[in-house]
Amino acid sequence: MTQSQVPVDSVKHAEATPEQPQPFRELGLKDDEYARIREILGRRPTDAELAMYSVMWSEHCSYKSSKVHLRYFGETTTEQMRSTMLAGIGENAGVVSVGDGWAVTFKVESHNHPSYVEPYQGAATGVGGIVRDIMAMGARPIAVGDPLRFGPLDADDTGRVLPGIVAGVGGYGNCLGLPNVAGEVVFDPSYAGNPLVNALCVGALKTEDLHLAFASGTGNKIILFGATTGLDGIGGVSVLASETFDSDSGGTGRKKLPSVQVGDPFTEKVLIECCLELFAAGLVVGIQDLGGAGLSCATSELASAGDGGMHVDLDAVPLRATGMTAAEILSSESQERMCAVVTPENVEAFLAVCRRWDTIATVIGEVTDGDRLVITSRGETVVDVPPRTVAHEGPVYTRPVARDDAKQDALNADSPETLPRPETPSELRAEILRMAAAPNLASRSWVTDQYDRYVRGNTVAAHGADSGVVQVDESTGRGIAVATDCNARFVALDPYVGAQLALAEAYRNVATSGAVPLAVTDCLNFGSPEDPHVMWQFEQAVRGLADGCAVLGTPVTGGNVSFYNQTGTTAILPTPVVGVLGVIDDVTTAVRSGFAGADGDAVVLLGT
């Protein structure tokens, strides 16, 4: 493959060719969205700009269908709930203060669709992505967890998807050296063909080390570090590749680039240590991980959170494929990359730390006067945009919300009262045996034995306990507890109450370990937002969760929305996975699950 002569679609070229047709629909943009981009720019977007807007305005990145509902979390968060929160919704991950100068950050995120396409890599890169979110707050990741949902054991895809996903979660997390301390394995027919892979990460930091993602200070340098940038995870943006472009396989063009990414946990492990050394040395002004939407996301978010503009030169980006277009470089979702803002006098020291860790680091741009994000490639300006319009001012939809009364009422009318009850001892015996063998009740050790729960030597409780308990400070014994839960069948019956039950269960699981629950994260897995009944489930679940949090006094500090979880037109059960994090002053006092006492101890049932 030679450096091809693809003409650069520069801003100048775009101005000169206003009528050139662009494949915006293939990129997922609606007609009015495309029109709005033209209006913002006062011209047609370049290919590179179109690539940026289309990924950043996607449902996944812009939260365009959920935004109007998620605002409710903010509206219901009281001053008192905010008092321990150092960073909340909108940051890479929420941060809460846990005492003694320590803070903890945690978040759960979905990687559902990629895990169906390529179970091992999909799940692995799901873990990798959430870990980088935690690193971007300035924290050391200290534990991971993995709420998982599969179709029935005998469903067509489960035999392929389940072992691959579990191996991927383990393969990546184990290699990173992060103990896996919590999670779920749930089977239900609605997840056949659409497994849910939610990945959770917890990080710890000293409160003064909190880093937020912003690019400020004219002249400060933008440094891209970690892995090289390749053609993986480009997916949809391939439609922008030129037809004249020869691929390795000969003459067909790069029409179909894979949308999956391949993870390299070793590079990420080194990146973690490298980042922590950079933070400790005070070499970082702002930092952002590269996840979905790659450099498009990182540059536009850093720039719009800062007080100036930004210039980035794509020719400086280290590539692992030849002839990549500007649009491809900007959209690549190659894993294990971070972007930092560094003052000019610290650049050499920054690069020296990266060299020590064999981590590639390159100055790719700088913070500028003014308010534009300008990106150049081969000497030409290919992007010149107001960064906020890319990162934060995407479209917002108020989708129709409607309870499907017939469906919902029928569901609720089908009550367990009508189910046959075991009447004789032998029927009861058969029933108990059936339950013991049911996948949803059986031991999870086939899964959890594939996860390292010991690494770093701080795990006080993991699998088999109600919540994972991890020591944060060895000298004081201060630690955290974390649990995730969601019974989606309850949510289907009543999304408002069901979400509250998920919250209450996770909250109880944390409390019973002896910890004080402090904060909530969520991963809202639902069907298509274009289905009014699904939007009704979503709205109800958000309201239920937020109202529940207000009563308990624990804020939602962050989370993730995953829509379009459906097989054909059938949506999954609404699955708002809720994670609760608590603090425990002294982990030696943590309460273990199970009967640990002496013979003759009384067993007490609490509650109603």
Partner: protein, 224 residues
């Protein structure tokens, strides 16, 4: 002056913090050693800890065995320096030919993290003197490539010379030949094992404190 035990960090090493903590709990000073250095800093013993050095790409331990620090470890081991390889460290010692045989994919092909019982078979090595032959230790095993293999002649030699140091008390869950969990070199100063004694040095964060004995054993040996 307290005993100084070096703990090597390669890129991708994970259990160095735990190994260092175990060394301190045993009453010694933990000295961090860096893969790229040619310097053992005059330590009295070395631990090659667990993890996924260089991602374990190619073969577990293969790339790490070529690191500059390993040249020094091999040289010092030949002069009698106590060296302990745990999990990935064991794999590295085999790849560096300090110990015979090799570690290959678990029989079940999955990563396996489980608490299990080990039997101490040889309490004469630099790292097992504080145990008595026949002791049973509860220690976590966590590895993907933990099945010990060697040709029959090597196995017979190991058995004949009492160089099998630890055996799985139950049938090896990773399919390890003759249930071998750990071995030593002919001189008894280099020991490698797949399970993780450094994760069993406190009841709070491990299944037992049975693993501490390896780290205390070496102190006795060094100060003797």
């Amino acid at each position: 002056m307290s005993t100084r035990v070096g703990v090597i960090t390669f890129p991708g090493t994970l259990d160095d913090v735990d190994a260092a903590r175990a060394v301190r709990r045993a009453g010694a000073e933990a000295v961090p050693l860096w893969h790229g250095d040619h310097d053992l800093q005059g330590v009295d013993a070395v631990v090659v800890p667990g993890g996924f050095s260089y991602g374990d790409y190619l073969r577990a331990g293969a790339i790490a065995s070529l690191a500059p620090i390993m040249t020094e470890v091999v040289r010092a081991a030949g002069r009698g320096l106590p060296v302990l390889g745990i999990c990935n460290g064991f794999q590295i010692l085999c790849e560096a030919h300090l110990l015979p045989g090799a570690l290959v994919a678990n029989a079940g092909m999955h990563f396996l993290c489980r608490d299990l019982e080990l039997t101490v078979e040889n309490a004469q090595t630099a790292w097992t003197r504080d145990y008595t032959a026949g002791d049973r230790l509860t220690i976590p095993l966590k590895s993907q490539e933990g099945r010990y293999v060697a040709d029959a002649a090597t196995l017979d030699e190991l058995e004949g010379e009492g160089r099998v140091v630890f055996r799985y008390a139950e049938p090896a869950p990773n399919g390890s030949t003759r249930d071998i969990a750990g071995i030593t070199d002919a001189a008894g100063n280099v020991v490698g094992l797949m399970p993780h004694p450094e994760h069993a040095t406190s009841e709070l964060t491990g299944p037992s404190a049975d693993g501490l004995g390896l780290f205390t054993s070496v102190l006795a040996r060094v100060t003797a």
